[in-house]
């Protein structure tokens, strides 16, 4: 049983800026534990001869030439923004962080 506590979930919720009720925290702690248990079973299968991987394809060193390519226009860049001003993305004030 992978242990994920209610506090762990509360911490993650805070990091993700998601306001959650106590009932939701309890519920998610249980659900996430089940998910982690399922994933943990992979470790039982993978022996010491299987290296940890972060990428499905064994490829290294894919690089790009240092060449400038056309960018989007300012209008196109901002076209998906909920709000804009002075050619910039307009976002709500950010509190307590710099």
């Amino acid at each position: 049983m992978a242990a994920i506590s209610r506090d762990d979930v509360a911490h993650l919720a805070k990091l993700a800026r998601i306001d959650m009720s106590n009932a939701e925290l309890d519920h998610l702690a249980q659900e996430m534990s089940v998910i982690l248990d399922a994933v943990a079973r992979v470790q039982e299968v993978a022996g010491s001869d299987v290296p940890p991987t972060s990428h499905p394809i064994p490829v290294n060193n894919v690089v790009r030439e240092d060449v400038v390519l056309p960018s989007l226009s300012q209008e196109d860049s901002l076209s998906g923004a909920p709000a804009q001003a002075e050619g910039r993305f307009k976002v709500p004030q950010i509190l307590g962080e710099e």
């Binding site: 911490h11 990091l15 993700a16 800026r17 972060s54 990428h55 394809i57 490829v59 290294n60 060193n61 894919v62 690089v63 790009r64 030439e65 240092d66 060449v67 400038v68 390519l69 056309p70 960018s71 989007l72 226009s73 300012q74 860049s77 901002l78 998906g80 001003a85 002075e86 050619g87 910039r88 993305f89 307009k90 976002v91 709500p92 004030q93 950010i94 509190l95 307590g96 962080e97 710099e98």
Partner: protein
């Protein structure tokens, strides 16, 4: 009684840690082909990749990897045979992706060092600053906080974001703990950042302009009672954007922390901001709660596995170490220590060397760059090297040496070149700046001066040589300052029977 700096370091031992961020000078961004050129209209150098639009895939700029390896090699680091990118997740709109692509536990370069020299009461002393890591990441966008009184976040109603800078290749160079500096911590910090800047400049990988933000320094500092053998709680001072500020930030934090400790208060682990005007710091974000960036390997980028033959090729291209170069040039040019530091601090070493290579005499080359040209640059608040080329300075100096220009005329020529009137030759022609060395023309002016001041002339004839000054002055005035004063003197004295 508040402790001053000397009293503070008499009781407490400072420990430093320095993090330097350097924007690389690649043409395109770290993970996309958007231009990195400074000063464009907001959000005109952005694309689906650096805006973090769904489905967009990053590809690493090969030149940025090369530059990072060069930096690591120049700092005596080991180059990691296998290195990966990671996502640093945080909630702040300066990255539209909501994470910064960085490196975490697998940086490209590790375990290096940089030796720096500082002046102590016992003469020059060398300190070894150990390097923990050099890693690759990307710069963030620029925020404009609107509605707050000071442009700061607190009180702002909303923020405006320009993502042109988001994704510009950034290299972070992190030192290990620097201890054992004692009271010289400010000097060591400054010497380290200075030497690092010079190395990066010599590698040609960055513009390293601290004032413009292409090189930025964060200063970590903690104090512990002398002899305690322990480490205190550290503060991290950001926004330190000049070499002088690095030194001042260390001094300011030593004093602040020592006085807190004296008063029995504890040091809060926090980010502080350096205030350029006062040299003090103000509190920013508290780091009491350990940061949690939920780093994880970047799934959209593949690992960097540099070929060892390539690393050796790059190692072979490393330029002469700036400290060695400075010592060599100082001897070659026989420059006093103080003037040498002025040249280095003003960033004029390259242009002076170039000017001398083009045939100028070293002393003249130095004094023109440090003197007149720097003065004109200060007036305009620009870099001296942007005003005139080493070739043009060499031409002006050669014209002084051949007697075709006086120092005074040469200043006018330089001023003309700086004002955009063309090459030195163009300025000389346009302004008619030629030394009048034609004996006939000079004699006419001399005779006129004698006729105007017959009494003075008589005194000179009688052996009162200093009296000739008034006559020489009159000739210089009559020729609009273009006469060669030494020549005028020679001709005049000869004419009045006082020449050899």
């Amino acid at each position: 009684m508040a402790l001053n700096y000397d009293q503070a370091v008499a009781k407490y031992d400072p420990t430093l840690g320095l993090e330097v961020h350097v924007e690389l000078n690649t043409n395109s961004k770290m993970f996309c082909g958007c231009s990195t050129e400074f000063g464009a209209e907001p959000n005109t150098q952005t694309c689906p990749v650096c805006l973090g639009l769904p489905g967009a895939l990053p590809v690493v700029n090969g030149k940025a990897i090369e530059s990072s390896i060069l930096i690591g090699l120049a700092l005596n680091c080991s180059i990691a045979p296998f290195s990966r990118f990671a996502r640093k997740n945080y909630f702040y709109p300066d990255m539209p992706k909501n994470f910064q692509t960085s490196q975490y536990d697998e940086p490209i370069c590790v375990n290096g060092y940089l030796d720096v020299e500082i002046e102590t009461e016992d003469g020059p002393k060398q300190f070894r600053v150990e390097i923990e890591r050099v890693h690759m990441e990307e710069d963030t966008g620029k925020s404009l906080h609107v509605g707050g009184a000071t442009g700061r976040i607190h009180g702002a109603e909303y923020s405006l974001l320009d993502y042109n800078r988001a994704g510009i290749p950034l290299v972070e160079i992190v030192t290990k703990i620097v201890g054992g500096t004692g009271k010289y911590a400010p000097e060591v910090a400054r010497a380290y950042v200075t030497e690092l800047r010079d190395i990066l400049r010599s590698l040609g990988v960055s513009d390293v302009k601290m004032e413009q933000g292409s090189m930025r320094c964060d200063v970590n500092l903690s104090l512990a009672p002398i002899g305690s053998g322990s480490l205190g709680t550290r503060s991290e001072t950001k926004n330190v954007n000049s070499l002088r500020s690095v030194e001042r930030a260390v001094i300011g934090e030593v004093i602040r922390q020592a006085n807190r400790l004296e008063a029995g208060e504890r040091i809060v682990q926090e980010t502080r901001h350096f205030l350029e005007e006062s040299g003090q710091t103000r509190p920013g974000r508290s780091k009491e709660q350990a940061e949690d960036y939920r780093y994880f390997p970047e799934p959209d980028l593949v690992p960097v596995v540099p070929d060892s033959a390539w690393i050796e090729e790059l190692r072979a291209t490393l330029p002469e170490k700036p400290s060695n170069r400075r010592k060599r040039l100082q001897i070659e040019w026989s420059v006093p220590d103080k003037e040498m530091s002025s040249l280095v601090n003003a960033g004029l070493l390259d242009v002076v060397e170039e000017t001398i290579k083009l045939g100028a005499e070293p002393t003249r080359a130095r004094s023109w760059w440090l003197g007149e040209i720097s003065r004109l640059a200060n007036e305009r608040e620009v870099d001296p090297t942007s005003l005139i080329t080493p070739g043009q300075v060499a031409v002006v100096i050669s014209l002084i040496e051949s007697g075709e220009l006086t120092d005074k005329l040469a200043r006018q020529v330089v001023e003309g070149v700086v004002a955009g009137e063309g090459t030195p030759a163009d300025v000389i022609t346009k302004r008619g700046l030629k030394v009048v060395s034609d004996d006939g023309a000079l004699m006419t002016a001399i005779e006129a001066a004698i006729a105007a001041q017959p009494d003075t002339a008589l005194r000179v004839r009688g052996g009162n040589i200093p009296a000739a000054g008034a006559l020489i002055g009159a000739v210089m005035k009559a020729t609009g300052g273009q006469a060669d004063a030494a020549k005028v003197r020679e001709l005049l004295l000869k004419h009045l029977g006082q020449g050899e």
